[in-house]
């Protein structure tokens, strides 16, 4: 059964990553049967089951290394599962880290085209949106300058502006908004709210409790790759603060 646009389903999802100081395997090593020493694989997702309906706003929180980013990468279809299933309906747009796919020697405008193309848009579809994207990013003349000259704030403006204008059914955003200044952050939040009102699903990974409280109705708390809380944000936040030992009212 394929999911409807905007729907996300993780069913008993498992994923581990090997953590080696030296990730470069070689044919030589393979032929000599050399096994690299190193810590055992990290279980990033441990039997995670989530069902997110179209139009839901979900904040994913948890301590560092809890599996938040891995969950997003699995939902985005970038990293496959080792066990379990994942399904995402419609156009999924992921904003992971700054400058995803920004060719440094290319102008902002060229990068808009490339990013649109990466999400399967045609030239006409992207060119129809390019003015809105440029206007939203407030980059002005910088949009025609190679992006290597950009500040990190400009990167995030461009990245978010693109992601927000691709008519995503699902928006996956990983802790990148914090780089923009406050005015731009507010603008992003308003744009996200607009997209959600239009029926898009939002999954937001953040350590910014206030941001999650403002934008997400539902909260998922991860710990050690497993879901330890899944429910309304009003209950999720106290749970999270208890877990982190940062309660404000003991």
């Amino acid at each position: 059964m394929s999911p409807e646009p905007g729907e996300l389903v993780l069913d008993h999802a498992w994923r581990a990553f090997s953590v080696r100081a030296d990730p470069g395997r070689t044919l030589k090593g393979l032929l000599l049967g050399r096994r690299g020493a190193g810590p055992p694989p990290v279980q990033a997702l441990r039997d995670v089951s989530l069902r997110i309906a179209p139009g839901e706003t979900v904040g994913v929180i948890g301590r560092n290394g809890a599996g938040k980013t891995s969950t997003l990468r699995v939902l985005a279809g970038i990293v496959p599962l080792q066990r379990g299933t994942v399904a995402a309906g419609g156009r999924v747009v992921a904003l992971l880290e700054l400058g995803a796919g920004f060719g440094r020697d290319f102008s902002g405008r060229e990068n808009i085209l490339l990013n649109g193309a990466l999400h399967g848009l045609s030239r006409a579809e992207i060119e129809g949106r390019i003015d809105d994207i440029v206007a939203f990013s407030e980059l002005g003349d910088f949009v025609d300058v190679p992006v290597r000259t950009y500040s990190s704030g400009m990167f995030v403006r461009l990245g978010f502006s693109i992601a927000a204008h691709l008519d995503a059914d699902v928006l996956l955003i990983d802790e990148v908004l914090a780089v923009g200044d406050e005015a731009f952050q507010r603008k992003c939040e308003a744009r996200i709210a607009q997209r959600v009102a239009a029926g898009a699903t939002l999954v937001l990974v953040s350590h910014d409790a206030a941001l999650v409280e403002r934008t997400c109705a539902r909260t998922v708390v991860l710990d050690g790759g497993a879901v330890v809380f899944d429910g309304p944000t009003a209950e999720g936040m106290p749970f999270y603060h208890r877990q982190m030992g940062t309660e404000t009212h003991p």
Binding site: T26, L27, I78, F106, A117, H119, S122
Partner: protein
């Protein structure tokens, strides 16, 4: 991901990747595109001096520079495509780690750029060769078929080395080390019959090296104005189908984990 639907949906991505590849290649190079023409010409000059003038081999071919040039053009296309494709997935690691799209686009765009430059150079070489050798004739109709097979063969090979290099970081250096002896064993500045009397050695040079039939067939058509043997044509078509089929199969099998390994 379904193959055909994706191909249509991601056509614009392919276009953008080719553009990117071209830009990165020619940036900061004064001669730009001209390098693709100059490179085989310089090599041809060097090999002509070496094998045509200095060493005076025990065999001779009329208009030897053209004999060399046809083979060299084919080889350089093969060589450059594989070397470019090998590191391509790592070069574009930022894209692979952060977005979902058909990964084949990356090595395919490297090969596409090489195809374009190859066709430009070959067109020049073909016009001169056909004019000088007077080989304008029926066998030329085979040329498009041979070129299509060559491109498919090279693309299949490129898919294999690109995905293997992403998993095993010594594939590119090993490939680089193999290409030089491979070049000298390929019938580029000789025909197998020129350098050995032994039938088994001739057969080995002709059939054991998958590049040999491609070079021989294209040179038969352009330089000799003759039909290649049926065996050569069948070999070329078979090698193309096999390389592309196996390349795609291996690539798709290994592509899922690419975001983790690059």
């Amino acid at each position: 991901m379904s193959g055909v639907g994706d191909a249509r949906r991601y056509r614009f991505l392919f276009e953008q990747m080719v553009r990117r590849e071209l830009r990165q290649k020619y940036q900061g190079s004064v001669l730009g595109l001209a390098w693709y023409v100059v490179n085989p010409l310089v090599l041809m000059g060097a090999y002509y001096l070496m094998f045509g003038v200095a060493l005076k081999p025990g065999f001779s071919h009329a208009a030897y520079p053209l004999f060399l040039l046809v083979g060299l053009t084919v080889w350089i296309f093969f060589n450059q495509s594989l070397l470019g494709a090998a590191s391509s997935l790592l070069d574009q690691g930022a894209l692979v780690r952060k977005a979902r799209f058909p990964r084949e686009t990356i090595p395919a765009s490297v090969v596409a750029v090489q195809v374009v430059t190859f066709l430009v150079v070959l067109a020049l070489v073909a016009v001169v060769t056909v004019a000088v050798r007077g080989t304008l004739g029926a066998p030329l109709v085979l040329l498009p078929v041979l070129l299509a097979a060559l491109v498919a063969f090279v693309l299949g090979f490129a898919l294999v080395v690109s995905v293997l290099h992403a998993y095993f970081r010594d594939v590119a250096p090993i490939l680089g080390a193999m290409l030089l002896p491979w070049f000298f064993l390929s019938p580029i500045f000789f025909e197998p019959g020129d350098i050995t009397e032994k039938a088994w050695a001739r057969d080995l040079l002709t059939w054991a090296n998958p590049m040999a039939p491609f070079i021989t067939a294209i040179r038969d058509v352009l330089y000799a104005g003759a039909w290649p043997t049926l065996a050569t044509v069948l070999y070329v078509l078979g090698a193309a189908v096999l390389a592309l089929g196996a390349g795609l199969a291996l690539f798709r099998r290994l592509a899922a984990e690419l975001a983790v390994v690059v």
